[in-house]
């Protein structure tokens, strides 16, 4: 246990990295923009948080089933990174992807309906929590194989490169995935071919119940990634502004043709690995310590102290977000189930479904 605590302490906030955004907000005009922008970040994180809290209730009341992996605590990563991405960019995700999907703009209704296995779900109920897809938003899953999305992301980046243009593919994965061969094969391939790929490693210190130090001989992940010849750095994953600044810098550099970049976001999941996990492998005190760095609280506090957030605004925000989530639940409840008659659909393409 002491190892983990020591490691936690090592995580000093990378102070220098995000200076630019703060400096830019010194004039009043900028401050107004910055405050709107920050409010939008806060709102997005809140949507993810409340969505998942509602999922816990729905899971307990057996409305939704399967493996459900919550992202609570890690919201700043999805929201910060997504700010750096454009509509034409692509996102490849994992089984812990509610946050990535919502940040990417997949409607909460469609995500919730997918959890219910309804026909209005973003994968028509064929995917479930771990397999969210939205082709129109270039959201390519939703992959329950640890590291399975990495080669796909390299391929999407390759296609974009071969077709010209400056699209970026962003791939989220965990510290556990970093130990898989697929990460290393992909890093090598992407760096060798200078693919427009943003590799975002969400280091939440655990792969299920195995802590970072028990899964990696060398725990400095950015250093290892940089050995493939790509820019790699570490960012405080509990600070959405820091994540956004780092991701912007990486995305711009990728668009400028500098090949893949690696971003390690140091973060923490406040909940168990999945709804099945009794969470026996980490100390309550460790979790409590991390909760003090709650990314939502952190941003809200900062905005308050800089005069950008009033209690009234916060209450309004909470209410708006609750409405969004309740609407999503209601529409999922009301939607028709994907009919059993469609069981064998989408195994192979249907006529007229040709890309």
């Amino acid at each position: 246990m002491s190892t983990t605590t020591a490691r936690t302490d090592e995580r000093a906030r990378p102070a220098a990295r995000k200076g630019t955004r703060k400096k830019a907000s010194t004039t009043t005009a900028h401050r107004a923009t910055a405050s709107d922008h920050r409010l939008s970040l806060l709102r997005q994180m809140l949507v993810i948080r409340r969505f998942e809290e509602r999922c816990v209730e729905l899971y307990s009341s057996t409305k939704i089933r399967g493996f459900v992996h919550l992202y609570i605590g890690e919201e700043a990563v999805a929201v910060g990174v997504n700010e750096a991405l454009r509509q034409e960019d692509a996102v490849v995700s994992t089984y812990r992807e509610h946050g990535h999907a919502l940040a990417r703009g997949v409607p909460a209704d469609a995500v919730m309906a997918e959890m219910y296995g309804k026909v209005t779900g973003c994968s028509r109920g064929h995917g479930g929590s771990m397999h969210l897809f939205d082709a129109d938003r270039r959201f390519y899953g939703g992959n329950a194989i640890v590291a399975g999305g990495l080669p796909l992301a390299a391929g999407l980046a390759l296609a974009d490169r071969m077709r010209g243009g400056t699209r970026v593919t962003c791939c989220f994965f965990g510290d556990g995935a970093f130990a898989e061969g697929e990460f290393h094969e992909t890093a090598n391939l992407a760096a060798l071919w200078r693919l427009p790929l943003l590799l975002v490693c969400e280091n939440n210190l655990y792969a299920m119940g195995t802590s970072l130090a028990r899964e990696h001989a060398q725990t400095n992940l950015a250093m290892r990634a940089s050995s493939y010849g790509m820019p790699a750095w570490t960012v405080d994953g509990m600070d959405v502004l820091a994540v956004e600044a780092a991701a912007l810098q990486a995305a711009e550099s990728i668009r400028a043709g500098n090949g893949p970049h690696f971003l390690e976001a140091q973060t923490y999941r406040f909940r168990a690995h999945s709804m099945y996990d009794p969470d026996r492998y980490r100390a309550k005190s460790e979790i409590e310590q991390w909760k003090e760095r709650d990314p939502l609280q952190g941003l809200a506090d900062r905005m308050r102290s800089e005069g950008q957030l009033e209690d009234r605004t916060m209450e309004q925000l909470e209410q708006d977000v609750l409405d969004v989530i309740e609407r999503a639940v209601r529409s999922a409840e009301d939607a028709p189930a994907e009919p059993v008659a469609d069981l064998l659909r989408y195994v192979t393409s249907e006529p007229g479904n040709t890309p």
Binding site: G121, G125, A135, L189, R345, V347, T354
Partner: protein, 333 residues
């Protein structure tokens, strides 16, 4: 006069390897198509299939990859999602196991898991089979494993014409297609049928009509079945030889029609018997035309050992014309 001379002059002979190369060359005229794999470029393909294509189409389209089957097969799947039409070459089916996760968990499932949103028009080619004394790790026939998987199409071109024409049809398919080329076929030489311009991927072919027994096979075993049929005809046994061509989806109709006529069936499959494609076909015959059968379905498969190196052992392990002849005699006795 001229026309007559042209029609009587034999077209130039070609090899299976050249037929595959010609198919690739034609496919590469579509800007979305590119070939990717280990040693496909400078080396010319480890079986020489892509020799010369690098010079013709450049390194962007004929793409040498690092040794990383999972990454480059997965990248092919991702590139297909991204609007390209990749042709991925894996040296042999034995090495494809390092990419099995990508093929099974991504290529075959993305369409379904996404509720029909994401189709994966990737073509994956690889060598399969034994017969060249390469030892176990280069000699296995695992295409039947892939034929087990819903969501992909599995092809086995056994003839020059199929080698020449299956790729175009595979690339026109919006779903993942795996093409298995038997290693012993690359040097097979013959003349392409000039009347064939396209093939369909759904039908098995009757390669030799007959009336006493249906010999059902595919890929590298086709020539052995044909040789067996020759021997049998000397004994007055008329064997019909079926080439499955597509291992998934299986063309039940052609198989059942044939067995319904001959009332006897022998399945020849270079894979191991247990849990094989031969087992599947035998089961389907029993399910669908049991009352037409005059004898139990026979199977000729590889011995249940890792394929050995020594020539005599390897030959003994694999289906051979003689073992097919024996099985047919048993079926018609």
């Amino acid at each position: 006069m001229n026309t007559r001379r042209a029609s009587t002059k034999a077209p130039p002979p070609t090899t299976y390897r050249e037929a595959l190369r010609e198919a690739l060359r034609e496919a590469l005229h579509d800007e979305r198509v590119f070939l990717m794999g280990e040693d496909v470029g400078r080396y010319g393909g480890c079986f020489g299939v892509s020799l010369g294509l690098l010079e013709e189409f450049g390194p962007d389209r004929i793409r040498d990859t690092p040794l990383s089957e999972s990454a480059f097969v997965g990248a092919g799947i991702g590139a297909a999602l991204g609007g390209m039409r990749p042709v991925v070459e894996i040296m042999t089916v034995n090495f494809s196991l390092l990419a099995l996760d990508q093929i099974l968990n991504n290529a075959a499932t993305l369409l379904h898991m996404s509720g029909g949103q994401l189709s994966v028009p990737v073509v994956i080619r690889m060598t399969t089979g034994a017969g060249r004394q390469l030892g176990a790790q280069h000699s296995h026939s695992l295409e039947g494993w892939y034929a087990h998987i819903p969501g992909i199409r599995v092809l086995a071109p056994a003839t020059l014409d199929d080698a020449r024409h299956m790729l175009a049809a595979a690339l026109a398919d919006p779903d993942p297609v795996l093409i298995f080329e038997h290693g012993s076929l690359y040097n097979a030489a013959g003349v392409l049928d000039p009347t064939i311009e396209a093939v369909d991927l759904d039908s098995a072919a009757v390669r030799r009509p007959g009336k006493d027994v249906s010999v059902i096979t595919y890929g590298g075993s086709l020539s052995k079945a044909m040789a067996a049929a020759d021997i049998l005809s000397g004994d007055g046994i008329s064997a019909e030889v079926l080439d499955l061509r597509a291992l998934r989806p299986l063309d039940d109709a052609t198989v059942m029609e044939s067995v319904g006529r001959t009332h006897r069936a022998v399945v020849v499959d270079e894979a191991w018997r247990s849990g094989s494609l031969a087992a599947e076909i035998s089961a389907r015959i029993t399910e669908q035309v049991f009352y037409e059968l005059d004898a139990p379905v026979q199977r000729v498969c590889s011995a249940e050992v890792p394929i050995p190196y020594a020539r005599q052992l390897e030959e003994a392990a694999l289906p051979q014309p003689a073992s097919i002849v024996d099985a047919v005699r048993l079926a018609v006795s």
